[in-house]
C-alpha cells in the first residue's frame, strides 16, 4: 500500500462524507471544550495538597512509622528480583528474534520507569530523603536488569532453572516482613492499609485462586459425576452471588462456621473470600481453554502410555492455559478492581483509606482530586496487566500455529 500524506489520511478518516464531517466537527468542538475545562480545573481549581499530605497514608495506611523500613526493604528486594527476571528473560535465545540486550520496548520501559521515579516523588513533594530512596530503588532495578541481561547466560543452566523459585520465596518473605514474626515486631493486619493492603489482597487471591480455578475447571469436565456436579454447583453458586454479599457472609457468618478462635482476622477473611470468589471465575476461563483443545490431544497422550495426570499436565493444560490466558488475566484485572469492595465492609484498602482522608474536615470537598488519582492508579495497574498478558501471549507463540487439523 502506498503511504498517503498525513493530510490525505486525516481527510479520509474525518471528512469522508458530509455527515462524517459534521460529526467530526461536533466531536472536535466537544473534546476541545471538555479538555480545556479539565485542564483548567486540574491546574487552577484543583488542590492537590490533599494527595501530597496523605501520600504515605494512601500508600501503606497506618503501618507503624518505625517499622516502615521493612516495607522499604521489601520494595528493594522486589526491584532486585524483577530486574533479575527481566534481564534473564531477555537473555533467552529466541528463534524468531536476534538477541538484543536492549530491545526497543525495554528502552521505553526503562525511560518510563526512571521518569516516574523522578517525577512522581517530586509531584508528591516527598522529602529529599524519600525521593532519593526511590531513585536508588529504580537504579538498582535497572542495574540488575542490565547485569542479568549481560551475564545471565553465563550462569549454568541448571541454576538458572531455579530463578523463578525466588518469586514464591520472596512472597513468603514479604508476608513475614509485612506481618512480623521470626524476630520482627508483629504488625497486626488491622494496621495494614492503603495501596499495601490492596496489593496484598489482590496478589494473595490471584496466587491462590489460580490452582483452585484449574482444579475446578478440570472437575467440571471430569467424567466422574460427583466431581462434575460438585464443581458446577460451586462455580454457579459463587457466580450467582454479588461479591459484596459474599464478603458480607465472610464478615458475619464465618465466625459462626468455625470453632471459636479459629476464625481468621477480618483482613484474612476478606482475602479468603476474594480467593474463593475469583476461583469460580478463573475456573470458567480455564474451562473455555480446555474446551478449545481437541479430544485427540488427550487420546494421543494416553495412547503413548501417559497416565491421566501426566497427560493433563504435559499435554492438555499447557495448551488450554495458553488459550485461556487473556480470559484469565481479564479475571485477575477484575479481581484487582474488586478489592475496592473491601472499603464497603470497613477495611482500609486504597479506596477505604481515601474515603477516610476525604472524611477529614480539613479536606472536605476534595473528592474529585482523590478519586481522579485513584482512578489513574487503577487504570495504570489494570492496563499494565492487560498489556503484559498480550505481550506474554505473543511470546508464548513464537510463530507456530496449533497443528493444522485436516
Amino acid at each position: 500500500m502506498v503511504r498517503q500524506g498525513p493530510l490525505r489520511h486525516l481527510r479520509r478518516e474525518l471528512f469522508a462524507s458530509r455527515l462524517d464531517g459534521l460529526i467530526s466537527v461536533g466531536l472536535i468542538t466537544a473534546m476541545a471544550f471538555l479538555g480545556l475545562a479539565l485542564l483548567r480545573w486540574a491546574v487552577v481549581q484543583a488542590q492537590w495538597a490533599v494527595i501530597q499530605a496523605n501520600s504515605t497514608l494512601l500508600a501503606v495506611g497506618r503501618y507503624p512509622l518505625d517499622q516502615q523500613w521493612r516495607l522499604w526493604l521489601l520494595t528493594t528486594l522486589l526491584a532486585l528480583a524483577s530486574g533479575l527476571s527481566w534481564g534473564l528473560l531477555r537473555g533467552l535465545p529466541r528463534p524468531d528474534h536476534p538477541l538484543r540486550l536492549w530491545p526497543r520496548h525495554d528502552r521505553i520501559a526503562v525511560v518510563l520507569l526512571v521518569g516516574l521515579a523522578v517525577v512522581l516523588p517530586l509531584l508528591l513533594q516527598l522529602s529529599l530523603n524519600i525521593q532519593m530512596r526511590w531513585w536508588c530503588i529504580t537504579g538498582l532495578l535497572v542495574l540488575c536488569r542490565w547485569a542479568a541481561g549481560r551475564w545471565g547466560q553465563a550462569i549454568p543452566r541448571p541454576w538458572r532453572r531455579w530463578v523463578p523459585v525466588i518469586w514464591p520465596l520472596l512472597y513468603g518473605a514479604g508476608l513475614v516482613l509485612i506481618s512480623g514474626g521470626l524476630g520482627l515486631v508483629r504488625v497486626a493486619p488491622s494496621a495494614w492499609g492503603g495501596l499495601l493492603l490492596t496489593l496484598l489482597q489482590a496478589s494473595f487471591a490471584i496466587l491462590l485462586c489460580f490452582p483452585l480455578g484449574v482444579g475446578l475447571a478440570l472437575g467440571r469436565r471430569s467424567a466422574l459425576p460427583l466431581l462434575r456436579w460438585g464443581s458446577v454447583l460451586y462455580i454457579e453458586f459463587i457466580r450467582g452471588a454479588p461479591l459484596i454479599t459474599l464478603l458480607f457472609l465472610g464478615q458475619n457468618i464465618l465466625g459462626f462456621l468455625l470453632p471459636g478462635g479459629l476464625a481468621p482476622d477480618r483482613v484474612w477473611r476478606a482475602a479468603w473470600i476474594l480467593t474463593f470468589f475469583a476461583a469460580a471465575y478463573v475456573a470458567e476461563a480455564v474451562r473455555s481453554g480446555l474446551a478449545a483443545i481437541p479430544a485427540g490431544q488427550l487420546e494421543a497422550a494416553r495412547s503413548l502410555g501417559l497416565p491421566l495426570p501426566q497427560a493433563l499436565i504435559h499435554v492438555v493444560l499447557p495448551q488450554a492455559l495458553k488459550v485461556a490466558l487473556p480470559a484469565i488475566v481479564g479475571q485477575f484485572i477484575s479481581l484487582l478492581q474488586d478489592t475496592t469492595l473491601l472499603s464497603l465492609i470497613g477495611l482500609l484498602d486504597l479506596l477505604g483509606t481515601a474515603r477516610t482522608v476525604m472524611a477529614n474536615p480539613a479536606y472536605l470537598g476534595k473528592n474529585a482530586e482523590v478519586y481522579l488519582v485513584l482512578a489513574v492508579l487503577f487504570w495504570c495497574c489494570c492496563a499494565a496487566l492487560g498489556l503484559g498478558s498480550r505481550a506474554l501471549e505473543t511470546r508464548l507463540n513464537p510463530n507456530h500455529q496449533p497443528a493444522a487439523s485436516r
Binding site: 473534546m31 457468618i253 482512578a375
Partner: protein, 331 residues
Amino acid sequence: MTRLPQGLATTPLATPLTTPWWRHRRLLPWLVQGAVGLLVLVLVAFLLGNLVRNLTNAGLLLTWSWLHNPAGFEIAETTLPFNASMPYWRGLLAGLVNTLQVVVLGLIGATALGTATGMAAFSSNGLLRGLARLYVDLIRNIPLLLQLLFWYFVVFLALPNGAAAVQLPGLVLAKSGLYLGQPQLVNDVWQAPLRMSVEFASLLTGLVVYTGAFIAEVVRGGVAAVPQGQWEAARSLGLGQALTLRRIVVPQALRVIVPALNSQYISLAKGSSLAVACGYTDLYSVAETTLNQTGRAVEVVLILLASYLVIDLVISALMNGLNRLVQLRER
C-alpha cells in the same frame, strides 16, 4: 543402522501384573468419588455443627418470625410504600423492588449505550472509532465502585440547585434531583412529572456507563465475527449498507452476541448491589441495616443470596429464550 523396535519383540512383555483390588477400571472412579464426597461431607458436617452450636450459644438459631417485627428504620426512597412501623419483610421487599427498578432501567440503558458504542467501532469516521475505543479502554480499567462514587460525589452532588441548575430541553439536572418532562421552577424548587433522586440517577448512570463499555466490546466482537465474505456477498447482490447490516450481518452477529450479553446482564444485576456507594437504598443496604438491628446474620445472608440467585436465573431464562429465537432463525 538404527536399533529397531522389533528387536525387542523377542523378549515377552507378559510379566504377570498383580492387580491391587482398588485399581479396577470401574471401581476406581467410585473410590475417588467416595473419597471426595466423604471429605466434603465431613467438612460440611463440621461447619454446620459449629454453626448450630455457635448460633445456639448466641441464641440466634434459625427462625423467620423476626421478619414480622416492625422494622423501625425508614428508607429514603421507595417505589413500594414503606415506613418504619412496617415489618422487616416489607422493608426487604421494598429494597428488592428498588434493586429491580435500577436493574431494569440499567439493562435498557446499558444495552442502548453499548450497542451504539459497539457499532461506532465500524464507523467510517476515524474520530468516532477512536473515541469508542477510548471509552471502552478507559471504563473497563477503573473499578465500578470508584466510578459510582465519582458519579455521586463529584458529578451529581456538585450540581447546583434552583435557577442555576443545568437546564437541557425537557430535562433539568439539579442537586435536588433529575427532572424529566416539562420541568418548571416553582418557588425556587423544580417540579416535573418525572423526578429521579440524584442517588438513583448516579447509580443508574454508573451502571449504564460501566456495563455499556463491556456490552460495546461484546457487540463489536459479535459483528467482527461475521465473516468478511458475508459483506462482500451482500454487496455483490446489490444490497445497500443499511440493508446488509440489518438483514445479513446483525442476525448472524446476534448468535455470538446474545450468549455473551447474558453474563454482562447478570454482572449488571450484581453490580447494582454497590448502591450504598451512591446512598441509594437497595436490597443489600436494607439487608445490612436489618442485620445490624436484629443480628440475624444467617437468615439475612440466605435471603440476600436467594434473591440475587433468583434475579440471575430470571435474566438467564429470558436470555436463553432470546438465544433460542436467534439461533433458530438459522435453521
